[in-house]
């Protein structure tokens, strides 16, 4: 998110000259002191001062303080800025990546879980949101506002309340398994089933035990077999919940963008003989590109930071298959009193999000302007 805002701010800066008076190029004019507009500068700073102070105190300072904590072995006794707090440099970070141990295994497990989570939730919720938006944007649809409200409703409901409802629905004798048994399917014990989806599929084709090549080793403390487990059954239930709740919000964004697409454009292409699919693919979607970027970015950030559903529904169980970096960071800091490592995890998570957002920005760049290829870097 941060990269998006700074990039656009930079652009404004360039075009508007930063709102500052030019210091040269006015040679012919007499100069009184520092120029008649110098008061404006002070006034400008005064006007933005409250926001700067608020952002600084509640945003920047805590981040810098947390970064300091991530470099120490602070035990949570008194302030972390005292002289007695042991400074350990990058130890908290290296333990997450290079030292074989529980810390690394937990962290890598959480990364694995979240990777599968992101890989499934982001595409599905985006497609679903777009589909819903196209549906309720349909001019022929009756009772539009009812459907809009209905689709948006999950997003405005408290995530804790929804999580609890889903806990009941996915209970062993809950609604989901009731429906499944109606079709003769014996539903799983959703929130205690730690089996990974890919493992389950492999089990169907007869691969129950990992082949030697996959179980003997692998990168970063987990075996290849562990990396390739797929999301667990419990994680799938959480994914279903998140997709259901967030697609409403994103639907609203797509809807706003769709309504600014000129109807004339659509009609013109229809007259030109374009099919429905062609109109969607070559007229509507290109116009939705900025919104698509926004939705994907917000989706990516939101899914990497997933916390409250995990906290309410599973606490990382069963067998750590719903452990995510955000929840692990909380648990490490506030349950294990290892504040340094907890802070380190959250900074690694921050980096992951920034890198992925940059990568996504690069993928979605405007290809028809080759000279501005590296603009996203600035």
């Amino acid at each position: 998110m941060s990269t998006v805002t700074t990039a656009s701010a930079d652009r404004d800066d360039r075009s508007a000259g930063g709102g500052r008076p030019a210091t040269n190029g006015h040679g012919g004019r007499p100069r009184f002191g520092r120029g008649i507009r110098s008061n404006e500068r002070i006034a400008g700073w005064l006007f933005v001062a409250p926001v700067i102070v608020l952002l600084g105190v509640f945003f920047l300072a805590p981040i810098i303080m947390a970064f300091w904590v991530s470099l120490t072995d602070w035990q949570g006794q008194g302030s972390p800025f005292k002289s007695g707090v042991p400074f350990v440099g990058g130890d908290n970070y290296t333990r997450l990546f290079t030292e074989d141990g529980l810390a690394r295994r937990d962290f890598m497990t959480s990364i694995r879980n979240n990777l599968y989570y992101v890989a499934i939730v982001v595409p599905v919720q985006t497609v679903l949101a777009l589909g819903l938006a196209l549906l309720v944007n349909n001019r022929m649809l009756k009772g539009k506002s009812f459907f809009r409200t209905a689709f948006y409703f999950p997003s405005v409901t408290s995530s804790v309340a929804i999580s609890v409802v889903f806990l009941f629905m996915f209970a062993n004798s809950g609604a989901i398994n009731g429906i499944l048994s109606f079709f003769g399917i014996d539903g799983p014990a959703w929130f205690s089933d730690a089996r990974g989806l890919i493992h389950l599929i492999l089990g169907v084709v007869g691969v129950d035990n990992p082949p030697q090549a996959l179980s003997s080793g692998g990168p970063l403390g987990l075996t290849w077999w562990d990396w390739l487990s797929g999301p667990s059954v419990a994680m799938c239930a959480i994914m279903a919940l998140v997709i259901w709740t967030t697609s409403g919000t994103f639907m609203l964004m797509f809807l706003a963008a769709l309504q600014s697409v000129p109807v004339a454009l659509d009609e013109a292409s229809e007259l030109d003989g374009a099919s429905r699919w062609q109109r969607l693919r070559y007229v509507t979607l290109p116009l939705l590109k900025p919104t698509m970027f926004l939705v994907l970015t917000l989706g990516l950030i939101g899914t990497w930071q997933v916390f409250d559903q995990i906290y309410v529904m599973s606490q990382g169980n069963p067998a750590k298959t719903t452990l995510t970096p955000a929840f692990l960071s909380y648990r490490t800091a506030f349950k294990d009193f290892d504040y340094g490592r907890g802070a380190a995890i959250s900074f690694v998570l921050f980096l992951i999000i920034v890198v992925l957002t940059l990568a996504q920005r690069w993928v979605m760049r405007d290809r028809d302007e080759p000279r501005r290829r590296f603009r996203w870097l600035r």
């Binding site: 035990q75 949570g76 302030s79 002289s83 490490t332 506030f334």
Partner: protein
């Protein structure tokens, strides 16, 4: 433009630096080396409790108010939403409550960083506490804090399901073999015989019965991969595999007591807190409580306890100790026992307790041979990892599970 950017960056850095400095200044620069200033006279004690429910909160509030009136101090009791987290925050903020509950499993974490005042021997007659509880709250040879009360695990049996399977009082299992055979009879009648939670706090009891435990007696060595522990886990695995036992989650219950109360299992292994849950949620279910069946190395159970921790940084340590004395007197402990069903931590209260609650004999008898939680710092994530692996015990190799536990425990204990 370049210059402006630099200046902007400089301003930002300066602003951040100033903010950071001012934030750090707020904490004052006393390094905590000097003991906290002690205040005499009337104290305003802050007491943070991890309450089991309204009954406990009310009982502690009443007791604190009585003490306050008698001693001329004030005492504010706050029930915590999340004790560990709230305590962590207040310790980090240099403003801990004076007195607070310390869970036995967490005790070493606090003691090792110097958050607790080691006052254990200053209360009246410290030798009267059960030795296993004193051991639990001893760190580096110092008895830190007075045990508040304790609970042990026992075997609860649903009377209706038991008789329906044609079993009588004579069939109550006292050994693992008998447990297996009654479980098979119950299973033949279509009931799930045993609900046992997938945590070291339940399965660990089998390890104790088999003569093993996760760490050595002095808490300095990892003994997780011993043959005794493998025997214990293999036995539990055989129960799970044979459909003779099940984890509560698979029975659609949050914990063993819920599965038991709903009649989804004929037996469960839980502590004396189950009494309150049964009276409140399942008043019509009849059940009996027995000591856990003995394993190859005799009887074994686990004890759970809290102590009255006093903050090392408290300003009113003397008054706090006086408060704890009042809270751990025999009379007060009996009041608590009657109010919310805990067992007094003083041996001299035992007879009174068994007289008042004859049905709880199995629980209090367990005190003789109970094993307390692992008391070494930073073990929580290791044990949580073990719990997670117990989740898959039905299919996993017990040796491999214990091997991982051993490796992680060794790394944490640094031994």
């Amino acid at each position: 433009m370049r210059r402006n950017r630099f200046r902007g960056a400089a301003v930002a850095v300066l602003a951040a630096g100033t903010l950071l400095a001012s934030a750090a200044c707020g904490d004052s620069f006393d390094d905590g080396a000097a003991p906290a200033q002690q205040s005499s006279g009337p104290a305003a004690l802050q007491i943070l409790i991890g309450s089991s429910g309204d009954a406990e909160t009310a009982a502690v509030k009443d007791a604190a108010a009585a003490w306050a009136t008698k001693s001329g101090n004030t005492a504010t009791v706050t029930p915590a939403q999340d004790l560990t987290q709230q305590l962590g925050q207040s310790l980090a903020g240099d403003n801990p409550p004076d007195v607070f509950y310390v869970d036995a499993g967490r005790f070493a974490d606090y003691a090792s960083v110097g958050a607790l005042e080691p006052y254990g021997d200053k209360v009246d007659n410290p030798g009267d506490f059960y030795q296993s509880l004193k051991d639990t709250f001893t760190f580096d040879g110092k008895f830190y804090c007075a045990p508040k009360d304790f609970s042990t695990l026992a075997l609860e049996i649903n009377t209706d399901l038991w008789t329906k399977a044609g079993l009588t009082d004579a069939d109550v299992p006292t050994t693992w073999d008998q447990l297996t055979s009654v479980a098979q009879k119950l299973k033949a009648k279509g009931t799930m015989p045993l609900a046992v939670a997938d945590t070291r706090d339940r399965v660990g009891a089998f390890m104790v019965q088999s003569g093993g435990w996760i760490v050595s007696k002095d808490g300095k060595q990892a003994t997780a991969d011993s043959a005794e522990n493998v025997t214990a886990l293999s036995y539990v695995q055989s129960l799970l595999k044979g459909g003779l036992a099940s984890y509560p989650k698979a029975l659609d219950a949050g914990w063993g007591g819920e599965a038991f109360g709903k009649g989804k299992a004929a037996m469960t292994i839980e502590g004396n807190w189950i009494k309150g849950a049964m009276t409140n949620d399942f008043p019509n279910v009849k059940y009996t409580v027995h000591e856990l069946p003995a394993g190859p190395k005799g009887k074994g159970t686990l004890s759970f306890t809290n102590c009255w921790g006093i903050a090392a940084k408290s300003k009113f340590k003397d008054q706090a100790i006086d408060f704890v004395k009042a809270m751990t007197s025999v009379d007060q402990q009996m009041t608590y026992a009657k109010a919310f069903g805990v067992m007094p931590s003083r041996q001299s209260a035992r007879d009174q307790y068994t007289a008042a609650f004859p049905a709880d004999k199995a629980f209090i008898d367990g005190a003789e041979y109970a094993q307390g939680p692992v008391n070494a710092p930073k073990m929580d994530s290791v044990l949580a990892d073990f719990d997670a692996s117990l989740n898959t015990l039905a299919k996993a190799d017990p040796k491999a599970l214990l091997g991982t536990l051993q490796k992680n425990t060794q790394a944490t204990l640094g031994g």
